[in-house]
Symmetry: C2
Subunit: 136 residues, 2 copies
């Protein structure tokens, strides 16, 4: 049958999303990803929206969010009632901003290291620990 971009069987879907077939099923069990309807005596098909969803999951994970965090973020995406959404979003936003602060400090420390390194050779230390001082 058609393997067009919005009727991908699980194997192609997983490849398109950059994960394994087993990981797809794992995310479905965790509730991060829906199981498309299975036509009687047929197989499930996946679309581009599913691919984007998985890419988001992987991106958020790289930013240090657990799958439980990602699940909450996805409920925001999916549209919850405003009052609950605001609560989650506020908390996650504070979290995101704290991470941003630390990452910026880290970027500064690393790029200063490189600047030093370029200009003179020998050995240099990088005050990474000090740069995040006051972090929590």
């Amino acid at each position: 049958m058609q393997a067009e971009p919005d009727h991908l069987p699980i194997g192609r879907f997983a490849k398109a999303a950059g994960i394994g077939v087993e990981a797809v099923r794992f995310y479905q069990r965790k509730g991060l990803l829906g199981e498309p309807e299975r036509p009687p005596g047929g197989i499930r098909r996946y679309g581009q929206a599913d691919v984007a969803r998985v890419r988001f999951i992987k991106a958020a994970q790289r930013l240090g969010f657990s799958l439980d965090d990602v699940a909450q973020l996805l409920t925001l995406e999916d549209g919850t009632h405003c009052s609950e959404a605001a609560e989650f979003a506020t908390r996650h936003l504070a979290d995101v901003r704290a991470r941003l602060r630390d990452l910026k400090r880290m970027e500064a420390a690393l790029s200063q290291l490189l600047a030093h390194c370029d200009s003179q050779h020998g050995s240099v230390a990088c005050p990474l620990i000090a740069s995040l001082h006051g972090a929590r």
Copy 2:
């Protein structure tokens, strides 16, 4: 004996750093943290520099770095020869910048959600997935 800030026994040290005693030993086994000398028939003592080091480890983890990544970052802190340092630092810097980009997008999406949410009640969706589109 003295329990002054630079002669902490492992229990106080762990508490000061916000982790458990077992985690301290675990980081030592991983090489993230040195084992202070043990005076013959005595116990090891830890100082503020160790506390700061552990705090850095935890902060970096929250930013999505694995302990192996953190180990590399710490070699920069500890001061390596410039040529190797530059290589690591360049790679990590690119990584940090990619994360920064994604986090900024996420921050924008979340704060927009809140802005919408404040101004009108009912249900709102948050285009988080779309906000990271083009992420890797």
